[in-house]
């Protein structure tokens, strides 16, 4: 006899478990307020990324187009996959002695894995993470960026 009662108890337990699952989906069907989708292209104006978001590597320039990169090449050494190339040249400074100045700070965004070692190990904190994340381009070479803007120069400050 208990096999028959087990048969029916299985049946009702099964149906009640099915109904429990349907209650969950039913609850979400009747509450469209829970929809979490963000309409990405439309909400581009209001979309603000976190301040620490690792979008890309940038070299911040202040108002009179000066940056802090001395061209020492420590970031180039620390980059695991060689996505930074520093080109420096010798320019005689104020008192005539030739001094190393950064010419081009080439950054291959296509090879960068955002590990952040360059930003961390830079002695003069010249690099930082930008929040820009739309990097889709049609031509691969556009991904090779020169971080120091043309006509920018080293920001002179009291030696720490």
């Amino acid at each position: 006899m208990n096999s028959i009662s087990k048969y029916f108890s299985d049946l009702f337990r099964g149906i009640s478990s099915l109904w429990a699952g349907m209650r969950v989906t039913g609850k979400y069907f009747v509450s469209p307020g829970q929809i979490v989708t963000q309409q990405y292209p439309e909400n581009r104006a209001t979309l603000k990324m976190e301040p620490r978001f690792k979008g890309e590597i940038i070299m911040p320039h202040d108002e009179n187009n000066q940056h802090k990169c001395t061209g020492c090449g420590i970031c180039e050494m620390n980059c695991p996959n060689g996505s930074i190339e520093i080109i420096t040249d010798r320019v005689p400074n104020a008192d005539g002695k030739p001094e190393r100045v950064i010419d081009k700070h080439i950054f291959h965004l296509s090879m960068c894995t955002f590990c952040g070692l360059c930003v961390k190990t830079c002695p003069s904190d010249a690099l930082a993470f930008g929040q820009e994340f739309e990097h889709a381009v049609f031509d691969r070479h556009k991904l090779t960026k020169v971080l120091n803007q043309p006509g920018s120069s080293l920001k002179k400050e009291a030696k720490k």
Binding site: R13, G14, I15, S17, L18, A20, G21, R23, V24, T25, V36, E50, R52, F53, K54, N78, P80, T113, F114, C115, G116, L117, K120, T121, F129
Partner: protein
């Protein structure tokens, strides 16, 4: 493929009915190919083929410094990226006898547990989808977004976060990290019962999962299956209990062990582990000690000559890092004992005799991440 392999496949082909599940297949969660020999619906035997995503991480790490190896390891098991990074950092710290500040231990353990919950959530989504409950996928991902936002706010990246460096953390956690984590705990405590209501209690799900893919404790030990998959067969292999690291010795949590050893047992272990992780975070989140977020470390790290070994409990099992150092700034040899590599090869024993649908359920319950297998 050389002729010998092609000839070998042809010979096997005309005897048995062989289908290839993978490398592009919805339920292999990555580029893994199962060569399945079928008799009608039942599986006779199964040969896993791997190597489609072998990047040679161990070879690469012989050419780069210890800090740079860190961000290679979170490309191995990308769902427990933070735990992998922490493993390598701890090997280096122990080798250099550097004492990490208390604050770093607390933060690392909280982030490990958040990472474990996020990984179990994604496992729950994929497992539900494998068995056909497509809605489970979206509920799991919706809740996982909360954790990824917390990570994004503190680390800057959601999945692969190189936040650990030997000696401590890259920078300190975000000021409202604690507030958001506590919000997440209360939020997720309301959502977890819904997971059980939707899938665990469901009679169809239980029929699909109970009694499928039984793995005895001896077989688990023989094949080196660790993590929740091993604990489903009553194998106490939780490294957080055996060799506690970080702040695990200051926390009360119990190791979930199931005895049935089938797919449903492994499922229950992971579901219960989510509750445990919430408990661990709750005990730690309020008393993170003050202090600096990294110990003083020289820029070039050179490990003293010798061999170092560290074991860590990732979301999928035991990750062991074995480093041989010859004194200069990049390791002489690094071996990552990845949990998925051993968990994978028990598939043939579990799937033989079952149906194709069981094969999908078993591979889902073993929670395989393929880049961790190939390294």
């Amino acid at each position: 493929m050389s002729e010998e392999i092609i000839k070998d496949v042809i010979v096997r082909e005309n005897e048995d009915y062989i289908i290839n599940m993978g490398p592009q297949h919805p339920s292999t969660h990555g580029v893994l190919r199962f060569e399945v020999c079928l008799k009608g619906e039942t599986v006779k035997y199964l040969i896993p083929h791997i190597g489609y995503i072998h990047r040679g991480i161990e070879k690469m790490s012989e050419a780069i410094t210890y800090q740079q190896v860190i961000h290679l390891t979170d490309r191995m098991d990308y769902l427990s990226a933070h735990i992998n990074n922490e493993a390598v950092c701890m090997v280096v710290e122990e080798a250099m006898q550097v004492e990490v500040p208390e604050r770093v231990k607390y933060i690392r353990t909280i982030l490990d547990e958040l990472n474990r919950i996020a990984s179990h959530q994604l496992w729950w989504c994929a497992f539900g989808m494998d068995l056909g409950a497509l809605t489970a996928f979206f509920y799991g991902l919706r809740d996982r977004e909360q954790i990824l936002d917390i990570f994004e706010e503190s680390f800057g990246s959601r999945l692969l976060h190189s936040f650990n460096t030997p000696g401590g953390l890259m920078h300190d956690v975000h000021p409202n990290f604690q507030k958001r984590t506590k919000e997440f705990i209360t939020y997720f405590r309301k959502k977890l019962p819904e997971y059980d209501q939707l899938l665990t209690g469901n009679i169809i799900f239980q029929e699909r999962a109970k009694g499928v893919g039984y793995m005895s404790r001896e077989k688990a030990i023989a094949y080196g299956v660790t993590g929740p998959s091993g604990r489903g067969s009553n194998l106490a292999c939780d490294i957080r209990k055996i060799a506690p690291y970080g702040a695990y010795d200051k926390v009360q949590f119990d190791e979930i062990l199931m005895t049935e050893g089938d797919t449903f047992a492994r499922y229950q272990v992971r579901m219960a582990e989510m509750w445990e992780s919430l408990k661990i975070i709750e005990q730690l989140i309020d008393n993170i000690p003050e202090g600096d977020f990294t110990a003083k470390m020289k820029p070039i790290i050179k490990l003293p000559v010798g061999e170092y070994f560290k074991r860590v409990e990732t979301a999928r099992g035991e990750l062991a890092v074995y480093v041989v150092s010859d004194g200069n700034k990049s390791p002489y040899r690094v071996k990552f004992r990845s949990p998925n590599f051993s968990n994978l090869f028990v598939m043939n024993e579990l799937a033989a005799g079952g149906k194709i649908a069981d094969l999908v359920a078993i591979s889902g319950s073993l929670d395989l991440v393929i880049p961790d297998i190939d390294r």
